[in-house]
């Protein structure tokens, strides 16, 4: 932030967005035309705003107190800046990777996942996106609708998507998540291994519970 403000920033690609000018508004009109580029643009905007907000808060506190105490007083804003930067990185990496999927049959559910990921992040930090009217109420409603649409579209592929992770039962070690879905007989079988089932009557009955009932 300091180098960008001072006009002498030499940043690698990961941070280049910090040097871009701010935009007034997000460009999408409906969630179906919310392009990869627009999503990245909007997450860049949010991260950039937060980084410079934190920077201004930090500078103000440093002026008023000391460098160290100024850092302490700005630390919540600073953590938010870091999170925004990382989320931008995650969104961008996800979109860029999915864009390389050549086969349309796998690109479609992956694209739904990218949209769900981005829309979910937007709704959980909606305040940031609504600030200064960067997105409108109508756009925020579109995002919400977009989430519902993604859920619906992903539903038929949900099991196939988790199957594609290629987890064998030998690796997963989960009775609930077993591949064949025969969970309930397996749960009963698993419970037989409990140490408490080694005998029909536990010593605790002789020692405590039996005598208690005779008192």
């Amino acid at each position: 932030a300091e180098e960008v403000r001072g006009g002498k920033a030499r940043l690698a690609a990961i941070c280049e967005y910090l040097t871009k000018p701010n935009s007034l508004h997000s460009r999408f009109t409906s969630c179906s035309d919310y392009s990869d580029a627009d999503i990245i643009h909007d997450f860049e905007h949010i991260a950039r705003k937060q980084v410079f907000r934190a920077y201004d808060v930090l500078k103000r506190h440093r002026r008023e107190t000391s460098a160290e105490e100024g850092w302490n007083r700005a630390s919540i804003e600073l953590c938010k800046a870091s999170r925004a930067h990382v989320r931008l990185y995650l969104v961008r990496t996800f979109l860029e990777k999915v864009a390389t999927a050549k086969d349309a049959s796998i690109r479609a559910p992956l694209t739904d996942l990218t949209r769900l990921y981005a829309f979910d992040l937007i709704t959980t930090s909606l305040g940031e996106f609504l600030k200064d009217g960067f997105i409108s109420d109508a756009q925020s409603d579109e995002i919400r609708q977009g989430i519902y649409r993604c859920l619906q579209r992903l539903r038929p592929n949900a099991v196939s998507l988790v199957d594609s992770w290629d987890f064998d039962d030998f690796e997963l070690h989960s009775v609930l998540g077993r591949r064949d879905g025969n969970v309930y007989p397996a749960l009963l079988e698993w419970a037989q291994m409990s140490q408490l089932n080694k005998t029909e009557v536990l010593p605790t009955f002789e020692k405590y519970l039996g005598p208690m009932m005779k008192e």
Partner: protein, 439 residues
């Protein structure tokens, strides 16, 4: 189960193709299958009965037995591909648990590789790789975690004997938490404040023998033991370690970057972040680990939600699969999306790490601050969001998610530990913020 079969028939894509895209090629999937079949075929690599029903001592013994067998069979995999084959092989055998050599291969060996000078590499690397010694990495102290600057353990150079004197001046300076330090390891890379010529030079790493190689008893001047049961990782002997003016040779300070000459002259590193390579490597492994934990949790929750029938959406129409409830989808599908996003980020950060490592060997440190900051932030955000996601998956399975049979407690306690180890998350976010403010 007919419900899960119906789901598989409804899918609109080839899962093999998706898996290939996810893991980076069909040959990777083929290797996974081969490694899985291999592990399944070797009974020595299996648990005698589910770990969930073992006592702590049984668990500790079980992982010690398995890790010896695992490393005996390690030639079956491509050991240069730790990120892919190494992690998978280990996961199949060790489940979600640590073992006596966890830090030996993930921290001890890479630290020596990354921070040892040539003579030190000659002396130690083959010994470590051949399991001639058992090493761990002891940095965190009882009173100080991520804040390296204020570690209390001292390493004071004595030019008369050309030795460092390691000392724990306070109770809070006890090394606390390192995996396998308590009972298994006989060596550790210890991070201590270096003092030469009466001046504190900051924290530096030292190779320190802590137990006798024959008897395995702690050496004179060393107090070491297990820290007790924990929220997770209960097969691991996480340890404490205290020094009482314990002496080690000058050559045991890792000197690729900083150096101490025989007369005590200190030579500072050319770049203050040169020693960060190991941290970036470990964090790239962590991001992949966390993505996998979240993916496992989502896999369990979605499969279970497909076979669990409960309640009716349309009265009289019969109980529905709980995956048909929009609220259940809203709990699970964002976690599914996250798992994919995190996995792709893990591969990306691994590639970046390799690029930076290559540049470092040529003396180019341009990308180092950037990737160090990014890996700190990614680790912090991903461990937290993965833990929240796993917990959401557990809750989405009702009471059964509380049983160890579900694997959720196992996955959660392993994953959430990542919020704390290898840098507490808030400290890491602030580290990254420092970089962003400077930029």
């Amino acid at each position: 189960n007919p419900d899960i079969t119906k789901e598989r028939l409804a899918g609109t894509f080839d899962i093999r193709q998706m898996g290939s895209f996810l893991y980076g090629g069909d040959e990777v999937l083929q290797r996974r299958t081969k490694i899985l079949e291999f592990v399944k075929s070797i009974p020595e690599l299996h648990d005698p009965f589910p770990v969930d029903f073992m006592t702590r001592e049984e668990r500790v013994e079980n992982v010690a037995r398995k890790v010896v067998a695992m490393t005996n069979y390690v030639d079956f995999i491509d050991t240069s591909d730790f990120f892919g084959e190494g992690m998978y092989f280990q996961r199949l055998i060790m489940r979600r648990d640590l073992h006596p050599l966890s830090l030996h291969f993930v921290m001890f060996l890479p630290t020596i590789q990354g921070q040892g000078e040539d003579d030190q590499l000659d002396e130690w690397l083959s010994l470590v790789a051949a399991r001639g010694i058992i090493g761990t990495y002891a940095q965190t102290e009882l009173g100080h975690g991520t804040n390296l600057k204020n570690l209390e353990t001292t390493a004071t150079y004595d030019p008369k004997t050309e030795e460092f004197v390691l000392h724990s001046p306070t109770i809070t300076s006890a090394k606390w938490w390192p995996g396998a330090l308590g009972k298994s390891s006989n060596y550790a890379v210890v991070v201590a404040q270096l003092y030469t010529q009466g001046v504190c030079r900051g924290p530096h790493p030292f190779i320190v023998q802590i137990r006798d190689l024959e008897t395995h008893k702690p050496l004179k001047g060393i107090r070491v033991g297990d820290i007790g049961p924990k929220f997770g990782f209960n097969s691991a002997d996480n340890g404490f370690l205290l020094f009482d003016n314990y002496r080690i040779p000058r050559q045991n300070m890792l000197m690729r970057y900083s150096k101490v000459e025989k007369n005590g002259t200190f030579i500072a590193p050319k770049h203050s972040k040169l020693s960060y390579g190991t941290m970036v490597f470990v964090r790239s492994i962590m991001v992949k680990d966390q993505a996998t934990f979240l993916a496992e949790a989502v896999c369990i929750a979605i499969r279970y939600s497909a076979i669990r029938r409960q309640g009716e959406i349309e009265p009289g129409a019969g109980e529905v699969q709980i995956l048909d409830y929009q609220t259940q989808q809203f709990r699970l599908f964002p976690q599914l999306a996250r798992a994919f996003a995190f996995m792709f980020a893990a591969y990306e950060i691994r590639d970046l790490h390799m690029k930076v490592s290559e540049q470092l060997t040529e003396g180019n440190v341009d990308l180092l601050p950037e990737i160090h900051a990014l890996s700190s932030g990614l680790k912090a955000v991903i461990t937290w969001e993965a833990a929240q996601g796993i917990e959401q998956c557990r809750l989405a399975c009702g009471g059964h998610g509380y049983s160890l049979a579900s694997a959720f407690p196992d996955i959660y306690t392993f994953a959430v530990a990542g919020c704390t180890y290898e840098g507490e998350n808030i400290v890491l976010l602030l580290q990254m913020a420092r970089f962003l403010m400077k930029a």
